[in-house]
Every structure is written in structure tokens, then in C-alpha cells.
């Protein structure tokens, strides 16, 4: 069959398909499904944002009405009552430190494992990637004992250490995948130029695996930013409280002042939403890369 004939036959099939009643029903079903998921993803957030600008009276009277006067003072109250500023700062410090440390050590390890052959190399690779599947929440007792014993309970350092560690398997897995794809010739050229092990890492391999490192870093940062279980377990005082832990206390802090609590929730998710709007491609790549073959 010539190409034209194929195209004509394909077009014929397409046209036939497009007018049949079955395909119209399927198309309606398809769009209903797609739009339902769309609404499902955004509607609760939008509803909460609008509710956060109402008075409690208005919310009680009708959950869907628009506010008569936009109550921006709910936000002032949310910020002052919850102490959200401090918690944000704690979250930023902890997440940035844990990400920087994690990326530095995992890219070093990935360099060793992915570009040098030695005994136990394969075993290490398998161990690291199976670490991804360990249900971390089950390790509360040993983490609690370990962190208390080294005197880091209720300290930011404790969370930084735990977050650096729990991201080790996934970051190593991601960065390893990228480092394997850097051509051997580039490194060999550097060897000829007299660059030693360390120099090759910092001047050749690290810069060339940049996209993998950024991807792993994105994943790691978001994991730290959103982590709750260990923030809850390993801290007790307000001065080291992260933003996720803060959300837990909103119900106590605001009790029946729902609208201010909603405002506090909106403020707490605003950084994530902003980051997503600005860097969505990077974030999607970062969060999914761990599940894509490296």
C-alpha cells in the first residue's frame, strides 16, 4: 500500500469513528471524567481560600457564599496567632541544610559507585535502591532512641540529620542514573590532563550531572519541606517547630475560629503553590524521577 492509500484509509477510519453515536458517548464520558478530576484537584483549595476571607457567621450560614466584605484581617490574625513566620523560617533552614548535605554526600557516593568497579559495588547499588521501599514510618522507635542518645532531640540538628539520611537511597538512585550516562571519554581526558579523583569529581562529573543533581535536590527539598512524622516525633518545643507540625496545632490555637484557621492553612501552603507555579516542570521531573528507570 502506498503512503497515500494508508493515509486515506486512516482518515476514513477516523471519520467513521468520529460520527458514530458510541464515540460521541465515549467522548462525553471522557470529558466528564477529565473535568471531574480537574475540579477535584483545585476546587477544595479554592473553596478554602474563599472561606478564609469570610466571617465565621457567613461560613456557618452558607459554605458557598462569597464574602460581603473580604476579611483580610483573618490573615493578620492567622499570622500573629499561629507564629507562622518562625515556623516557616525553621522549615527553610532545616530543608535547605538537609538538602545541601544530602546532595553533597549522595553525589559523592554515586560517583564512587557508578564510575568505579570494586567488590560489592552491585550489592551497594541494590541495597541503596531497596532502601527506597523501606517504610520509614515504621522506624519511629529506633530513630527516637538514636536521636535522643546523641543529644539531638528537640534540636534542629536532629531533624537535619534525619532528613539528610532518609533521602539517601532515593537521591543516590537518581544521581547514579545520571552519572552513568556521562561519557567515559570525558573523564579519561581529564585523567590524561593529570586531574586526580577529587578534581575529576568537582570539575567534570559533578557539573555534567547537574540536571540529575538538581532533580534529586528538588525531590529532597520537597520531602523535607512536607515531612511531618519525624518533625512530630523528634521535637517538642515551639522554637524548633516546622510549618507542617504547626498545621497540627492550628485546631488548638484557633479552636472555633474556623476562618482564621483556614487562612493559616492557606498561608502554610502558599510557598508550595508559588513554587509549583514558577517551577512546575522542574518539580514534576524532580518528584517523579525516583520512579522512572535511572
Amino acid at each position: 500500500m502506498s503512503t497515500d492509500a494508508v493515509r486515506i484509509k486512516k482518515d476514513a477510519i477516523r471519520i467513521k469513528r468520529d460520527v458514530s453515536p458510541a464515540s460521541i458517548i465515549l467522548s462525553i464520558l471522557k470529558w466528564t471524567f477529565l473535568l471531574f478530576l480537574f475540579a477535584y484537584a483545585v476546587f477544595p483549595v479554592i473553596w478554602l481560600a474563599i472561606a478564609s476571607l469570610k466571617t465565621n457567621g457567613e461560613l456557618m450560614a452558607n459554605p458557598f457564599s462569597l464574602p460581603k466584605i473580604w476579611q483580610f484581617k483573618n490573615y493578620t490574625k492567622a499570622i500573629t496567632v499561629s507564629g507562622i513566620g518562625r515556623m516557616m523560617l525553621n522549615s527553610v533552614v532545616i530543608s535547605m541544610a538537609a538538602t545541601a548535605l544530602n546532595i553533597l554526600i549522595t553525589s559523592m557516593a554515586a560517583y564512587s559507585v557508578s564510575r568505579f568497579e570494586f567488590k560489592g559495588n552491585k550489592l551497594l547499588q541494590t541495597a541503596f535502591s531497596s532502601g527506597i521501599l523501606v517504610p520509614l514510618n515504621a522506624l519511629m522507635v529506633p530513630y527516637f532512641v538514636l536521636i535522643s542518645n546523641i543529644g539531638l532531640y528537640n534540636k534542629m540538628g536532629g531533624l537535619i540529620l534525619v532528613y539528610t539520611a532518609i533521602g539517601v537511597p532515593i537521591s543516590t538512585f537518581i544521581v547514579m542514573g545520571f552519572m552513568k550516562s556521562v561519557p567515559k571519554e570525558l573523564e579519561e581526558a581529564a585523567v590524561i590532563d593529570g586531574a586526580n579523583f577529587y578534581k575529576r569529581f568537582f570539575t567534570v562529573i559533578f557539573p555534567l550531572s547537574r540536571s540529575g543533581i538538581v532533580t534529586a535536590g528538588t525531590f529532597q527539598f520537597l520531602t523535607c519541606w512536607n515531612e511531618f512524622v519525624y518533625a512530630n516525633l523528634l521535637t517538642s518545643s515551639q522554637t524548633v517547630r516546622t510549618i507542617q507540625l504547626g498545621i497540627r496545632y492550628f485546631t488548638n490555637q484557633f479552636s472555633t475560629d474556623y476562618v482564621s484557621m483556614y487562612a493559616a492553612i492557606i498561608v502554610s501552603i502558599l510557598p508550595s503553590i508559588t513554587a509549583y507555579v514558577l517551577f512546575q516542570n522542574q518539580i514534576i521531573a524532580g518528584l517523579t524521577s525516583g520512579a522512572v528507570k535511572g
Binding site: K30, A51, S130, M140, V141, A165, A291
Partner: protein, 289 residues
Amino acid sequence: MNVKRDEKIGVILFLLPVLILFIAFFVYPVIYLVIMSFNKWSGFDAPVFTGLTNYIKIFTDKVFIRSITNNIIWALVAGFVQVPLAVLTAILLSYKPRGWKIFRTVYFFPQVISGVALATLWSAVYNAQYGMLNGILRILGLGHLEKNWLGSLDTAFPALLIYWVFYVGYFMVIILADIQSIPEDYYEAADIDGASRIRQSISITVPLAKTSIVTCMLLAMINGMRQFEQVYMLTNGGPSNRTSVMVLYLYKEMQNYAYGTSSAAAVVLICVGTIVILTLRNTIGRPNY
């Protein structure tokens, strides 16, 4: 590249920090849990060896049995409802309908919000007095169905289970990327044979995207086994422990200074998780890990 003598030190030095953390936070904790699960320990005095007492205690505890059951239901719903929904969505978007990129971006969006924040958001949706769900029911004239969704015995667990099922964005993106790497030729050949799109999806798309689908099922089910935040925030296991899960159980045992019992529950959780992984691997197919 073979390791030259002067590089040996470098390789070891570069591996060391990760190796130490991996042993301290992944290998040692599991061993620790196994040992501690045979002991009675309140966290203050020395642990006392008690054999299988902790295991007998948790397996005769209705709350723990309920927790395991809930976790298994949770994992099954995640693997066999949420992931298939994600596959369906990915297939629909792979034909690039109008605005597919916007759909992709929006579907993924809930993924960047933390579990705690989402749970708090949904507690507002389910709220008995001013919640969104009851509000919608009233508008639809279904006011008689209004409920205290998280407070009633019969709706609390379904309410916990259902809200995240439709957040398919994460798995959808992974599967969609895989589908988009399938060569066009297969579909063109199937077009010529007159195979419908549904037929093409079943015979071409799903088999060729199998690895990513299995990986997603694995991640989804593991997620179901280690649930904590949502339950902790929305119901704290109530009403009358109806919505308890294993991690919540071991957390509460820990708060009661029953570290041994908590460890036993954790060991069971790790075993059940491993069984899930191995079963999936040996029946449906190999994931990426």
C-alpha cells in the same frame, strides 16, 4: 574504569558518609526493631527479654487486627483503584486532547501540598457544620444525607479512603511519560487493522507501559501500608478505633512507653510490606527497583 591504588582511598572516602548514614538509619534500625520486639521496655529502665509476649499481645488486640485490615484495604484500593484510574487518565491524555498540558499540571498540583495540609483541608470539607460536602448535598437537595462524615462509625473509614483516590496526578505523570515513549508505528499499524482506541489501549499501551504501571502500583501500595498523617490528623484512629492503621498503632504504643510492643508492630508492618512487594514482583511483574 578499574580502581587504581591511589583512587581506592578516594572511592572509600566518598562512600563513607552515605554508608554510615545508610547503616545508621536503614540497616541498624531494622535489626534494633527485631531485637526490641522481644523485649519489654518503657524507655527508662533496662529492657527485659519477654520472648513472644509482644507479638501475642498485638495479635490478640482487636485494634491491631483492625489496623492491619485497614492497611490492607488501603493498599488494595491504592494499587487496584487509584493506579488504574491513573492509567486511564494517562491514556486519555496521551491522545493529547485540547488543553492536555493544563490538565497534567493541575492533576499533579495536590502532590506538592503536604499530607498534613491536605488532611486539614479535607477535615474542612468533611466538617459536619460548615463543611463543603454537606453544603453540596444541601444544594443538590440531598440534605437528608448530611452527616458527620469523620465522626460516624460507618462513614469514617470510607471518608478517609476516598478523598485521595482521585489525586491521580503523580502516577499519571509517570505512566504518561512511559506511554509517550511508545513508538507511533504500533498505533499506526493498529489503525490500519481497524483496531479501536480502546482495543489499542488494552493490547498496546498497557503491556508496553507495564513496568511503570507496576512501579506505580508498588509505590501506591507501600504508601497504603505506611499511612500516618491523614489518619492522625483527621480521626486519630476514631471513632472507637475504626480507622486505626499500623503506624498510628505503633505511634500510640510508643506514646504509652510500650517500646517493645511498638517495635513488634513495626516488625509486622515491615514484614507485611515485604510480602506485598514480593507478591507484586512474582505475580504482576518487575518494577524499577
